[in-house]
Every structure is written in C-alpha cells, then in structure tokens.
C-alpha cells in the first residue's frame, strides 16, 4: 500500500496554517500591479485607457496592445520583479478562457495572487457609450485591485489514491476490471458472494456474436480470462465473501469483509471429489436452475474457480462422512466465518443483476406448468453441460417439443406491481440466440417469438436477419395468458397486425425474464452511501460524461449493476472503470479552488454539512467530519449550515468578497443605479457569450463570479444593499444534486433580506443555461428597467 500519501487532515491543517500566516501578511503593505490589455482595439476602442490608468489607485499601472501575447509574458514577469509586485490585476478578458494563461505569466507569484477583470466581455463588448463604459471600467478594475489585496496564497491540493482496489462481483465485468488493473500493477481483491467466480456468463452456455453471425461458447471465451485472474500475482480472490462495513478515508476505504465458511481448508482441497459420493444430502442445483440435484458438498460446476469443493452450510447435516473420506484432511465442520479487514484505494461495484421473479406473473404459469420455463432455464437445457446434455426436451415428458413460443418483455416495460419500467435490453437478442440454436440443432421444432418491439440495434440487426433466414415465426403482440388445453399449452395473444385474438397451441413456453437489480447491489450501495437510480441500479455520476463514476469519489461501477446491458457493453464499461481507477492512482489529482476545508479544532461533528452536500464530498472519518477535496465543488452549502463556523471556502474568502462588492459599488453618483449579479460558472459563461455576441445591457450590471449561490450568506447581501446596491441578481445552473440546498438557500436569503426591509423584487434568482445567454441579458435589462421605473428607488 502506498504510504507516502498525505491524509486530508494534514492537508487541511496545512491550508489552515498557510491561510493564517498569509492573512496576517496581507495587512501590511502589499504591492499591486495592474496590467491593462487594449486587446487590439477590442477594449481600447470603447474604453478610454488613459483615463482608466490615471484613475486607478495601485502601485503600478501599465497598458499593452495584446497582453496574452508571449512578448507580454516577459513584460509581466519583468515588472513583477522590478516593481517588487506581490499581487497582480489583469484587466483584459474572461478568466474562464485566460486565467490559467495569466497565472502562468505571473509565475513567481502564487496563482491565487492573480485577479482578472473582465473588461472585454463585461464592458467594452456590451456597452456602447464610451463615457459610461470607461466609468464602469474604472470601477471594475479598482474592485479587482481591492479584491486581490485580500487574496490568500493557496497551495495546490493534490489528492493521492492508494494503489489498490476492491472489486465487488466476480462476473465478467469484475474479472475484466480486475485483470486490467492488476496488469497495471494495482493490487486487486475480487470479492464474490458465491463459491465460484464467473457470474451469469458461465451459466448461459452460448453467447451471441453479431459479427460472426454465430453463437460462441461462453466458457471457452471466459475460461482463459478466469485462469489469468487466478494466476495473477496482483489479484486476490475472496469467494463467499460479503461487505459488512465500509469506512471512507481521504486516500482509501477501510472495509470489513466477512468470509462465510465452507468448512473447507481451500489450500488443502485438491478437488478429488471423494467427498461427494458419501454425502447423503441432495438439494436442487442452482447451476442447472434447480432442474438437477446436487449434494451439500459440491463444486458449483466442472470448471469452477477456485477449483475446490464447498459445503452448503445451510443444508449440511454435519454427519461427518465427508470428513472421514477426505485424504487431504481439508474438511473441518467446526470452521467459523472469518472477518477480514481490507484497505482499498478505490472500489469498483460490479455486482451484476438478478432475474425477474416469474412467480409474480402467475398468468404465465411458470410455477403451474412444467413446460413453461425461463430463458435462463432454456440456456441450461441447451447447454452441453446442462441437465439434458444439450437436448431440447420438455420437462414434463422428456420429448422434443414441436413448437416453442417465447414471450418477450416478461416483467420488462411493465408498470404493474413488481414489473420493471425499463427495457431489459438483451432479451430480444437472447430469444433470437436460442431460436437460432433450436432451429439449427432441432429443425423439427418451430419457434415463435411474441414481441412488442424487436430491439436489435446496430450490428445486432444482422443477427436478426441471420436467425430469420433459419426460419423464425414472429407474432406482434404481448401474450396475456398461458393455460393448458388437453396435452398442450395454450398462449393467448392478440396478433395485432391481423387485429385478431389468437390462441396458439404449443409444447413449451419460454418467458424472456427481465433483468433486475440484485439485492447485493442495493445492500452494497447502502453501505457505501452510493446513490441508486429510480430503478434501483447503481446510478452513474453523469450518464454522458461520467458513465462509470458513482456519486461517491473513488467508487466506480460497471456491468449490469449499473443497468441492463450485454456482455460486450459490460466489458467496455469494466475497462473504462479500470482506466478511471488507474488515472486516479497514476496522476494523483489536483483540486482547484474553491474548495471547502474544515477547521477540525472548531468542528463539533454534528454532521449537518454531510447532510447538505449533494456532491457527497463530506464524510465521517471515525468521528471526525472530513471533506474530500476532489469531490468538493466549493459551493459553500456546508459553510452555510455549519453552526460552529468551522468550514471555510478556500479560493473565495469573505474578505475578497466584501472587497470586491465594495469596489464595485464605490463612487456611485446621485440617481445612478447599480445591480450586482452573482453568477456561478454557467451563469458566467452565459455572460461571456452575451459579450461575444455584442448584445448590450445596462452599465448598471456588475458581475461577481461565485462557485454557487450557496456560498452567499444574508450578511453578504445586506452589505451590498448598505453599500449602494439597488438590486441583486443571483443566477445559477440548476444542478440536480444540489436542488434542495438551492431551494433552501433561496428561501433563507429572501426571508432574511425581506426581514431587513428590502423590497422583494430587489433580490432576484434566475436559472442560468449556457446557451440561453439572451435570457440572461434580458434579465439584466428587465431588472434595470424595473428599478428605473419603480417609485421606491429613493428608499435606498
């Protein structure tokens, strides 16, 4: 395990010390230099640069034609050295596009000592009147000077992740991810609840392959991979193991696992099988979907890995016969469950799926009729290592069926109780695969698929045509009932294309059962506090751009734990999850301010911060509250609810905020209107776009960039009103995971401001969307006009 990594508490206290020392320093004489960009006329054509320069109060002021040019990099560095500047204001364009550039140009200075004033997008491009624009430019730049005086130097926050991973689930997804990580030198533990790894894939016998237009042997594909996993020096497999507890730390997870005993010393068992013959207990064999029997001591299947026998402790009668015949002395009926601690830098949830409980649809007769089976049952029947050694036989009489009717969407696309609203995605292909095998090997058997929509997207359409060529009957309609008539089963369905109810005789009915989230997945999610989707699968952080992240930092998801998908997709997703874990380990990751830190000396561990944080950045580390800087967005919601004032937002402190507000409201003339607009990143982007498109709005608008409105407290707003703000607009993108906190914040701000006698329409909230910049511009305009035309202006 990687021990060089620093834990967050140290990081936090470093920051705290840093902050304190610099805070003191900032009181004594700092030297601020202002670098003004003419932007090839983009700024200087509207703004009187000479007047701007002469109006500023700073230690050094100079203007340049193109400040972002490499030539100016030299100028900036030289002036910093020559003038002994320790803070810099760049009065140019948008920090969204150029802050990094200028932080680099000012290199000997700490990046947080560089403040950008957006003269182009927020002044010269949106205002036409040079006189007013120049006045505003002076105000904006001076506010920048005041703000940067309060800036504090920040250290980079590098978050390291321990070079180890715990992968829950030993199916194809977990195995794929494990192998990829292990090959990159990461220590991996596969935690599997069953006695053998391989998951559902080992059971299904054949898998569909749209490219080869054939069915491939799943075990033949999987076995070499499983062997690699078993022999890999970086992979440890723990079967019959479940998670009991999970604790989050800054660089790893502390896991407590429980390994159920199988009464077998796995290291001694040589899988000779002598024990099986003497075992008197017989129970239905889950490997064959209960269609055959197995002993209480058994190996799940011939190629099972780990290659050892296991005892089903629930059914074992402890007669001791197996103990007597075991020559390796591998069986000990007194063995107990073992509790194993595990430290893992990252977690991958690959816990797979379960199948829909067909007994909840009694109208299809799964429990009543022997010859109504599921697709998984059929997969076992068709498997050469299955109960009939691959012969298609009716369960009832062992005869080959003349007709097989498949019922699609059993439990899928179904809003009724217990049903799944989603499409299970693979069942159409599974039905086609089995139809193909039946038509190939048992051409006397007719296959009818009753479907609502046949979903074979992309290359799978080729496979549909291939199976159709083998002779496949399709009925478009969803059966309502399966009954018995004489010797046959009877499927009632409407042939919707013929507009006729249809009663179809058949020998066998195969229900295409829905894929559903497994109980284990849900349990694991609860233990890790990972969010679930509405359909109770693990929810990805963002379906488009973060498809394998969960809402908890360093926990990833892949395979059917995240939603129905086929093997190809599961493998892709597993590879992606492994890549993400690796990225985190290899690169470390740098947290950008603003981020929240907790002063542990003040924290009383009440946990209010943890409750409000929609980013799940805050967790309880033993009894202490901790913040993961990688997950934190610096929105400030936690600081707002902390009763002890123990949380500080690094990167935008109160002094900076007050200094900027004061600067923006300074020198207000009689009858002049000033509106402060607090914009989050999306709002700020929209405002930049207003500038790019030269849409004008009133000079009264003065923009302050904030991480989120959650950062803003009532006292900030009151400060603004007291210093001359006529109105305050707060615009933010409605981020789903913080919606509740937003609502609460809006309520809090509105009520406190109203209690101080500020008219309700002087504080406005707006949902910002980057492409809808015209909407924001209209807000600016409307707010200004309302105040101008309103009669309560004089009250301020």
């Amino acid at each position: 395990m990687n021990t060089e990594s620093k834990n967050l508490e140290n990081l936090s206290s470093d920051l705290e010390n840093n902050y304190n020392s610099l805070g003191k320093k900032s009181k004594s004489g700092e030297r601020v230099g202002v670098f003004i960009c003419r932007c090839g006329g983009n700024i200087s054509d509207t703004i009187d640069i000479e007047r701007l320069k002469s109006s500023l109060d700073a230690n050094f002021v100079e203007d340049y034609e193109n400040l972002c040019s490499l030539n100016c990099r030299r100028h900036i560095r030289e002036e910093i050295m020559e003038q002994n500047l320790d803070r810099v204001v760049i009065a140019a364009c948008s920090p969204l596009t150029h802050l990094k550039t200028f932080q680099n140009y000012a290199d000997p200075l700490n990046p947080s000592m560089v403040e950008m004033v957006n003269l182009r997008e927020q002044c010269s491009w949106v205002h036409d009147d040079p006189e007013k624009a120049t006045q505003k430019a002076i105000g904006l730049t001076q506010a920048g000077v005041e703000k940067v005086k309060s800036a504090q130097a920040l250290k980079k926050i590098i978050s390291r992740t321990e070079k180890s991973a715990a992968i829950f689930g030993g199916g194809i997804s977990g195995i794929t991810a494990a192998l990829s990580l292990a090959n990159q030198g990461v220590k991996v533990t596969i935690i599997e609840k069953n006695p053998a790894i391989g998951g559902n894939m080992v059971k299904i016998g054949k898998v569909f392959s749209p490219e080869k237009l054939a069915e491939e042997c799943s075990l033949c594909i999987l076995n070499p991979i499983i062997n690699d996993v078993v022999n890999h020096k970086n992979i440890n497999i723990m079967t019959k193991t479940n998670l009991r507890r999970a604790g989050r730390r800054s660089t790893y997870f502390n896991l407590v696992l429980e390994k159920e005993t199988s009464y077998i010393h796995e290291d001694r068992c040589i899988a000779c099988g002598n024990c099986v013959d003497v075992c008197p207990v017989e129970v239905p064999d889950e490997w064959n979907q209960g269609m055959t029997m197995r002993k209480a001591i058994y190996k799940p299947f011939a190629q099972a890995v780990p290659d050892v026998y296991t005892i089903d402790t629930e059914n074992c009668k402890k007669c001791g016969k197996c103990v007597k015949v075991c020559k390796m002395d591998a069986i000990d009926l007194k063995l107990k469950n073992e509790v194993v601690p595990l430290k893992a830098g990252s977690v991958i949830i690959a816990t797979g799926h379960e199948h829909f409980d067909l007994s909840t649809r009694p109208e299809y007769g799964y429990e009543r009729f022997d010859d109504v089976i599921s697709q998984m049952d059929l997969a076992r029947l068709l498997g050469v290592n299955g109960p009939t050694l691959g012969k298609l036989q009716k369960i009832s009489d062992g005869k080959q069926p003349q007709r097989v009717v498949m019922v699609q969407c059993t439990g899928s696309r179904d809003e009724k109780s217990g049903g799944k609203r989603y499409c299970s995605k693979v069942c159409c292909m599974v039905a086609l695969k089995h139809a193909s095998i039946i038509r190939e090997k048992f051409p006397d058997t007719e296959v009818v698929i009753c479907y609502t929509d046949l979903r074979t997207p992309g290359m799978y359409e080729n496979y549909l045509r291939y199976v159709q060529d083998k002779g496949l009957k399709l009925v478009r309609g969803r059966p309502g009932e399966v009954t018995k008539k004489g010797d046959h089963l009877l499927v009632r369905v409407e042939d919707t294309l013929q507009r006729q109810p249809l009663e179809m005789e058949t020998d066998m009915v195969v229900l295409s059962e829905a894929i559903e989230p497994s109980e284990g997945t849900m349990k694991l999610a609860r233990r890790f506090n990972v969010g679930l989707s509405q359909d109770m699968f693990i929810k990805e952080k963002h379906a488009k751009i973060k498809p394998v992240n969960t809402d908890v930092e360093r926990i990833f998801v892949c395979g059917t734990a995240q939603g129905p998908k086929d093997i190809s997709e599961s493998v892709s997703q597993a590879s992606a999850a492994a890549a993400k874990v690796s990225e985190q380990i290899k690169c470390g990751t740098e947290a950008e301010p603003p981020v929240a830190i907790i002063r542990t000396s003040l924290c009383k561990h009440c946990g209010k911060c943890k409750e409000i944080c929609g980013f799940k950045a805050i967790y309880r580390d033993e009894e202490y509250m901790s913040i993961d800087p990688m997950a934190c967005k610096g929105c400030g919601a936690c600081a707002g609810v902390c009763p002890e004032g123990a949380i500080e937002i690094i990167g935008l402190n109160d002094q900076e905020l007050y200094a900027q507000m004061e600067g923006l409201l300074r020198d207000k003339e009689d009858g002049e209107i000033r509106i402060l607009a607090f914009l989050d990143n999306v709002g700020y982007t929209a405002a930049d776009t207003i500038g790019n498109n030269r849409v004008s709005y009133p000079e009264a608008i003065r923009i302050i960039r904030i991480p989120s409105i959650n950062r803003i407290m009532p006292e900030h707003l009151m400060f603004a009103y007291e210093h001359g703000a006529d109105g305050i607009l707060m615009a933010e993108y409605p981020d789903e995971c913080m919606l509740e906190a937003h609502k609460a914040k809006m309520k809090e701000l509105s009520e406190s401001v109203a209690a101080q006698g500020i008219p309700a329409d002087r504080l406005r909230f707006y949902k910002a969307y980057a492409p809808h910049y015209r909407g924001l511009a209209q807000q600016f305009e409307d707010f200004y006009m309302d105040i101008l035309e309103g009669d309560d202006l004089k009250k301020f």
């Binding site: 109208e363 696309r413 809003e415 609502t452 969803r478 309502g480 009632r492 409407e494 919707t496």
Partner: protein, 197 residues
C-alpha cells in the same frame, strides 16, 4: 388509404378522454405501445368484434367515428384490461368515457336499458349490486356457492365486525333523496323508457 392532413388539434379526443372525471388521473393512454395484451385477455374480444387495443389506437388517432362504433357496446367492464395493462392504461375506463359522450342521443339511450337494473339497486339498497334479474344466471355460472354467499353475506360481515352491506333506515332515505334531487332517478327513468328508434 388513410390520408393524414396537418391538423394541430389532432389529439383532441385523447385529451378529452384524459380530462374526463371517469379516467384515472395517471391514466397511461398516451404511453400505449399497442402490445395487444388487453385484447389477448378480453372476453368481449373473444366473443365479438370488440378490440380494446384498437379502440385505444383510434382514440390516439383522434378518430371521432369511433363514437358511433357499435363494437363499443360489447365491453361489460370486467376490468381485466385495466389490471393487466403494462403502461397503466385502462381501455375499459376509456370505453366508459366514450360511451358517455353519446348518451344524450336517442339511439344510444336504448343501449342503457340493460344497465338500468344496476341503477335500481342504488334506489333499493343504497349501493350498487348485482341486479336480481341476473341471479339465475349467476347461480348457473357459479353454482351453489353463489347462493350461499348471497344468503349469508350479512352474517359473514357481522362476524367479521363489518356493518351491513346494504344501507338501511335513515341513511337509505338520504341516499334516495340525493338520487332524486340530483336527477339520477329521472335520468334512470328516461333510459328505462327508451324505445328502439
């Protein structure tokens, strides 16, 4: 061939169905995927030309000719379609709304005649129950157990601590008055007196 002209009001019928008070608030009619599960189980579809899936399709197609489709009258409200529909639609509720739209017309009043005995049960017992006229048929279908149920219903309810099924005394008077004052009684009479046109 069906010719489909551009018509911005082309979902008027489904909107009317949805906003009718007979329709459940979350009626899934717009989510209908025409799977035909309703029809596969529909006794009326088995014995007549009635097709609940098609009825729903015609509503979604804004086909107002549906209102005069005689097949509409073959549904007898067993609610199987409602209990099975995978998108929580209820073709039989849709059917009720559609039928109601035509009841003011003379030719449809006659259709209500066979239901009027249900109306009588409200006047007689204060609740809706199986009309007397159907008794023999029910006994034929269900056998002696139906008679037992009928005879012992109130006793069973008392044993379970439930009140009488039928409403009695002052409460029954109140129900009758409400039915009279609200026009139910006279409306029922109109349906009873309807004649083939």
């Amino acid at each position: 061939m069906i010719k489909k002209e551009i018509n911005p009001k082309s979902n008027k019928l489904v909107e009317e169905v949805k906003k009718d008070y007979r329709a459940s608030q979350d009626l899934g009619i717009k989510r209908c995927m025409q799977c035909g599960l309703c029809t596969s189980n529909c006794p009326a579809a088995r014995h007549s030309n009635y097709d609940p899936r098609e009825i729903v399709k015609m509503v979604l197609d804004d086909n107002w000719e549906l209102l005069d489709n005689p097949d509409l009258w073959n549904c007898f409200y067993c609610y199987t379609c409602q209990s099975n529909c995978p998108v929580n639609n209820s073709p039989c509720q849709v059917n009720q709304v559609l039928r109601q739209k035509n009841l003011h017309k003379a030719e449809y009043k006659i259709k209500m005649k066979e239901f009027s005995a249900y109306g009588d049960s409200y006047l007689d017992f204060g609740v809706g129950s199986m009309p007397k006229a159907f008794f023999d048929g029910m006994v034929k279908d269900y056998g002696k157990s139906y008679v037992d149920l009928k005879v012992n219903l109130e006793d069973i309810r008392h044993e379970l601590g439930l009140e009488d099924y039928n409403i009695k005394g002052k409460a029954l008077e109140d129900v009758r008055n409400i039915l009279k004052e609200s026009g139910f009684k006279s409306r029922l009479k109109k349906f009873k007196n309807a004649k083939e046109s």
